[in-house]
């Protein structure tokens, strides 16, 4: 059975062009960019080229502002803990939002628990957006960092990053954005966005896993997390993962050059999917923002059935999705993102996320629309629950 992969927000495959760009750097050009011989220098040049490519793509000022790491999670940890450590004399208050990825939330919990920081978690509205006025109110004299994600991994809602970063600038507070879900589809011009720090990773943009980027403006004071040989301008020691960095740069280049065209295609398919589900399945709602959302994200709630059950049924048809229900998480609680939008537990338990990608076709969407209504009907028949959209949306 041909598998239909609709979980691109979890991870993407590695594009052929990317794989080819990387392949040379395993056994042929294996050198350590820190070595002084020819083999090492060739690796150093290749690395410098990749860095320059990324610098231009995100419109950073200097090459030292590009820090390659081992993952998006590492970049986020470095941005938050590194800025916290270097600026704690100025203050110990951080502002973030309630719908951030665990990489941000858990890092903040750590700083609260172990390092005596205070963190304000901003609410979001019904569509998952942070209100800039709330940010203004949350800022204190001792606020040293604001970290708000660019686009949400579960619901795809895009934040008003420019506006939020502008507020941070007015108050002279560093602004970090987790752009892991945005790297392939949105504008990542750091000057245009006005951010001081930005995280992107390879595994969501058809690049390799195990490589991340942290953009850090020169003026930002930050301590490294990993000490050693002083690679990445002293910010991230450890022999550079040359092949993956080159793959990352290639993937970002391709994604950015194709994004306008590809976004249109994804948007069309996403609309077809959402409209089709709404037409064929009663009592369905789209979670997140109706327009300010990633073009490939459809997060829906189907009432009276539980998300994991739907996901496993779809999986039997080779359709790969994910769910925000408690049963697919490690905790007993359903998605913190759905709950933060003020939606009840009933809604969170019945969520299903489809995230489309480059290989997604019309036929695949047709297949989902063909199979899903029957699955829902079967599960509803054995469900004792009978909710209405009105009662869960009030």
């Amino acid at each position: 059975m041909k598998e239909i992969y609709l979980d691109h927000a979890a991870t993407t495959y590695v594009r052929e062009e990317v794989r080819q760009a990387m392949s040379k750097y395993y056994s042929e050009e294996f050198g350590n960019p820190g070595s002084f011989h020819t083999i090492g220098l060739r690796a150093k040049e290749a690395l410098a080229e990749a860095r320059e490519k990324v610098r231009k793509l995100i419109n950073a000022g200097r090459e030292h502002e590009i820090i390659f790491t081992g993952s998006g999670t590492e970049s986020i940890n470095m941005a938050i803990k590194g800025v916290a450590a270097a600026n704690k004399d100025k203050g110990k208050h951080i502002v973030t939002s309630k719908i951030e990825h665990e990489a941000v939330l858990e890092t903040c919990y750590y700083l609260e628990k172990r390092e005596g920081f205070e963190v304000t978690y901003l609410d979001v509205d019904r569509y998952g957006q942070v209100n800039p006025e709330d940010l203004k109110k949350a800022i204190r004299d001792d606020t040293i960092l604001i970290s708000i994600m660019y686009a949400n991994n579960e619901i795809g809602t895009i934040q008003k990053i420019k506006e939020l970063a502008e507020i941070a600038k007015e108050h002279k507070i560093y602004f970090h954005t987790d752009a892991c879900q945005a790297g392939g589809t949105l504008d990542i011009d750091t000057q245009n966005l006005g951010v001081d720090l930005m995280t992107i990773n390879g595994s969501k943009i058809y690049g390799p896993k195990g490589v991340g980027l942290l953009y850090k403006k020169m003026s930002v004071k930050m301590h490294p997390l990993i000490h050693g040989g002083g690679q990445e301008n002293g910010m991230r020691s450890g022999t550079e993962n040359t092949a993956s960095i080159i793959g990352f740069a290639k993937a970002l280049e391709l994604a950015q050059s194709e994004r306008e065209e590809e976004n249109k295609r994804l948007l069309h398919l996403r609309e077809k999917l959402v409209d089709g589900i709404k037409e064929k399945v009663p009592k369905v709602m789209l979670n997140g923002h109706p327009t300010e959302r990633l073009p490939n994200n459809a997060n829906i709630t189907i009432l009276d059935v539980e998300g994991e059950a739907m996901m496993l049924y779809l999986n039997e048809y080779g359709i790969c999705t994910s769910s925000g229900s408690a049963c697919t998480s490690l905790s007993l609680d359903p998605s913190h993102v759905i709950l933060a939008m003020g939606l009840p537990y009933e809604v969170a338990h019945g969520t299903l996320r489809f995230t489309l990608g480059k290989r997604t076709t019309e036929e695949e969407i047709d297949k989902v629309l063909e199979v899903l209504p029957g699955i829902v009907q079967s599960l509803r028949r054995i469900s004792p629950v009978n909710l209405t959209l009105e009662e869960v949306q009030k």
Binding site: E316, P344, Y345, G374
Partner: protein
């Protein structure tokens, strides 16, 4: 006795065999079988509406992620038939289905034995569940006890009604559900905190999923959902 769920499709050629899909599965084959082919369901709405039952029990809510409803028919002190509905994940659906088989198979389970059915008995018949899924199976037996109590009340056997009484959760530490309720009432709302108060599950980890479910249940009961 097996009723197979047929995926109602919108097109004719879509008669996919739902067990042919993935090779590696998160659950055991028995769980998978009961999830995709749940037993003892109402076949039609008419059957559900006209079902002459002796007892009905319901537990959980869609907000807590699991909800079960069980109907039983009783004869000669045994459970003669059982129907159910479940809102929940694969473990919850499979657990209820398996329980319905266990209490109604052969000549039917004695009502007093059914009253004593434990989540672990169901989990064993399912060939195990992933540890973090145990909590999905702990509501079925509660719904069953509620159905049996309902039957006792309806048939004038009020002396036999067993209100959810104190139940030992951890047989080694002899901790009961009431102890956990007390701990939660005293402000211990995490497993760690409850363990500090009760020593529950220390050296007997098998009861932890149930303990966590209880903590959550009492936490919601007394302090409301987060």
């Amino acid at each position: 006795m097996t009723e197979t769920i047929k995926i109602e499709s919108t097109t004719a050629d879509n008669s996919a065999d739902v067990t042919a899909g993935s090779k590696s599965w998160f659950y055991t084959d028995v769980v998978k079988d009961h999830f995709f082919n749940p037993r003892n369901l109402f076949k039609t709405n008419e059957e559900a509406e006209g079902y002459q039952y002796d007892g009905m029990g319901m537990v959980g809510s869609p907000a807590c992620g699991d909800m079960m409803k069980i109907w039983i028919k009783v004869g000669d002190g045994r459970i003669k038939d059982c129907k159910w509905q479940t809102f929940g994940c694969a473990s919850a659906i499979a657990s209820t289905s398996m329980m319905s088989v266990m209490i109604s198979e052969n000549e039917g389970m004695k009502v007093e034995d059914a009253m004593k059915l434990k989540p672990m008995d169901i989990v064993k018949r399912l060939g195990d569940l992933p540890t973090r899924k145990f909590h999905c199976s702990v509501l079925g037996d509660k719904a069953l006890r509620a159905a049996i109590n309902d039957h006792y009340e309806k048939s004038g056997q009020n002396d036999k009604v067993e209100k959810e009484k104190v139940r030992v959760v951890d047989h080694i530490a002899k901790v009961t559900d009431h102890d956990i309720e007390e701990a939660v009432l005293e402000g211990a709302v995490t497993l760690e905190a409850v363990q500090r108060k009760t020593k529950v599950g220390i050296g007997n980890k098998s009861c932890l999923p149930e303990v966590e479910q209880l903590i959550r249940f009492y936490k919601e009961k007394y302090y409301g959902a987060d």
